[in-house]
Amino acid sequence: MIPPTGPVHRPTGPPAGPDANSPRRSVILDVVLDLVFRTAVLFGLFLLFAGHNAPGGGFVSGLVIGTALVLRYVAGGAAEVDRVLPLEEHVLLGAGLLLAFASGAAGWIFGGAFLYGAKATLEIPVLGTVNATSALVFDVGVDLVVIGLVLGLLRSLGAAADRDADDVDTRRGVAS
């Protein structure tokens, strides 16, 4: 497995942002942040489902949710990201890829060609008539991969930050 990864306990906070438990953090900021984050995630999900007929889609959705995660990272470092999304990124990446592949296989079985967009019309409350297609499943896969990518990047940044903290003195020496 990919070394130091996932929601593990980190002894040192990243210099990228104040520690989640630091007294310097204001409650108002926390609340606003939470609000923005939740809105962004919801918006992302909306884009995912609306994507087939209006601007949006899995990729864009993933980017929106990813950007929301970056916001979390800036506010509370890798630890905060771990708290919001306690999943190893390779699970997201693997699951996303597998889902996309599986939708392709489904299209093959039901539609006659690998990755063929099989369709069904469904009535869903709130959203109304939805053309449910295997393409949507595919898009979910794409979404997961993009989120996994951003998550992985943020964790890597966090790991690098940890290492920097370890040998911060030597680095300072180089810089000056």
Binding site: M1, H90, G94, A113, Y116
Partner: protein, 496 residues
């Protein structure tokens, strides 16, 4: 099983398996190994099915995504693509076996297996896609996996040299996507078969320019002169199985793309043909001269990749049936033999801890089996009869003379001697001599695990089988060349 099933599976299966393998991260390694071996073995079977279905020189195709080729993507296998597939699958599973047996070469590193499977998918897609943009995607899939594999385990030196590979690779990809944009601007198509038709409407000058641009793009991947410089710098430092696989496969995917695009889209040859022949002569020469100057097994072998690419381009540049048939045969031979030699180099490094010629010696006495496993493919590489390299070089030289290309044909013969010279350099440095007097010898305490030797031996056996089956193999190469030159069967199968 029909090719309708085999073609999408060849691309899809390794991708799906990569996802599964990724989900198995952190679980016992044996699970990932099982997935990899099963999938790679399946690919071998599927590719044989594909070869069987195009054996008579036909082309099979299947649609992926949209049912209409005008908007969807078509996968197609002609004899060239099929034989590339079958040989590549062979490399993929044998090298995987080798990697599993290897202690030093990072197969145990996290994500080796998913990356390897992604690479396999990219290679398969490259040989099967009948769509220029999808070819770009296949290249990216293959390359991005290779970027990670080449730096796997990361000593500083390796990362530094890997950077050369990555940056030049990205530069070539940028040029590729630019080229696709330009091709689309000129024709409004990306489907290769549709392009073959549409390209005829494009004025000759522009067509030549597009042909040359694509040649440069794939030339970087194939490492032809003067675009090869990244290769000898980056290959030798990577883990041995990775280098072996890259040496055998990746540059050849570039060569495949050159052959495919030049014959399908720019069939008249013309100025591109002259450029190809000049570049071929320079590639052969510069590569072998570089090899002579080296004193390390993997570095010598790396330069040889470049030199050998020249032969393939030479055959293509002739734009004759015999020339292209020779090139196809050469590619097939080269993939097997080159991979084998790198595997042997890897075993030497694993046993002795170095590949430096001046430090090794006497391995023939302490490792006679390894000596034979080196000698046979080395002679084949140098074009010594009766090995497959000889048949390939002979057919190229024959067609070169027949096309009255005296100079480049003469160069191709002379380069053979220099190739032999550099192979004797390895033989002399590593295998001959007194083991007691060498700085490091391959003593009997440091033997490698059986899978490494077995995988190497399998490939040597295959290259010997090529000698016996050279007749049918050449005839199949000729059918492949005929399909490439006539274009009609491919275009019809794709646009059907």
């Amino acid at each position: 099983m029909s090719p309708d099933v085999a073609l999408p599976l060849l691309v899809g299966l390794p991708l799906g398996a990569a996802a599964v393998s990724l989900l198995l991260l952190g679980r016992p390694l044996v699970l990932q190994r099982t997935v990899s071996l099963v999938v790679l073995a399946t690919m071998q079977v599927l590719s044989i099915v594909v070869v069987a279905s195009v054996w008579d020189g036909s082309v099979v195709s299947v649609r992926v995504g949209a049912v209409d080729p005008a908007v969807g993507i078509v996968l197609a296998a002609d004899p060239l693509g099929a034989i590339m597939l079958v040989v590549s699958s062979l490399m993929l599973w044998t090298v995987m076996v080798y990697a599993i047996g290897s202690q030093r070469t990072k197969e145990q590193a996290p994500a080796f297996h998913p990356l390897y499977l992604v690479l396999a998918a990219g290679v398969a897609a490259s040989f099967l896609t009948a769509d220029l943009f999808n070819l770009f995607v296949a290249f990216e899939v293959m390359l991005v996996a290779s970027y990670v594999l080449i730096t796997l385990g990361g000593s500083r030196d390796q990362v530094r040299h890997g950077m050369t590979y990555v940056v030049i690779g990205l530069l070539a990809s940028t040029l590729f996507i630019t080229a696709i944009g330009l091709v689309y601007a000129a024709t409004g198509e990306v489907n290769l078969a549709a392009l073959a038709v549409a390209m005829d409407q494009v004025p000759t000058g522009i067509r030549t320019a597009l042909g040359l641009l694509l040649l440069v793009v794939f030339g970087v991947k194939a490492a032809i002169f003067p675009l090869f410089q990244w290769l000898p710098d980056s290959y030798p430092t990577a883990p041995s199985p990775v280098t072996a696989l890259f040496a055998g496969l990746l540059t050849k995917v570039g060569v495949y793309a050159i052959i495919r695009t030049q014959t399908l889209l720019f069939p008249t040859g013309g100025e591109v043909s002259i450029a190809l022949l000049v570049l071929a002569a320079l590639t052969m020469t510069v590569g072998v001269v570089g090899a002579i100057a080296q004193n390390d097994i993997k570095r010598i072998l790396s330069f040889h990749i470049v030199s050998q690419i020249g032969y393939m381009i030479f055959g293509l540049g002739l734009f004759t049936l015999a020339g292209i048939a020779g090139a196809v045969l050469y590619v097939v031979h080269h993939i097997v033999v080159k991979t084998t030699l790198f595997l042997v180099g890897g075993i030497v490094e694993e046993r002795a801890g170095t590949g430096a010629l001046d430090r090794l010696g006497g391995a023939m006495h302490t490792a006679p089996v390894l000596a034979v496993l080196f000698l046979l493919p080395a002679l084949s590489l140098a074009g010594i009869p009766p090995f497959s390299g000889f048949v390939a070089k002979l057919s190229l030289a024959q067609s070169g003379f027949a096309a009255e290309q005296w100079v480049v044909t003469g160069v191709s013969l002379a380069v053979g001697l220099l190739t032999l010279f550099s192979m004797t350099k390895i033989w002399n440095g590593v295998f001959w001599g007194d083991p007691a007097r060498a700085a490091v010898s391959l003593d009997r305490e440091h033997v490698v695990a059986a899978p490494m030797t077995v995988a190497t031996a399998i490939l040597v056996t295959v290259s010997l089988a090529f000698v016996v089956a050279a007749g049918p193999l050449y005839d199949f190469s000729e059918r492949a060349a005929s399909v490439l030159l006539e274009r009609g069967a491919y275009v019809q199968a794709v646009l059907r």
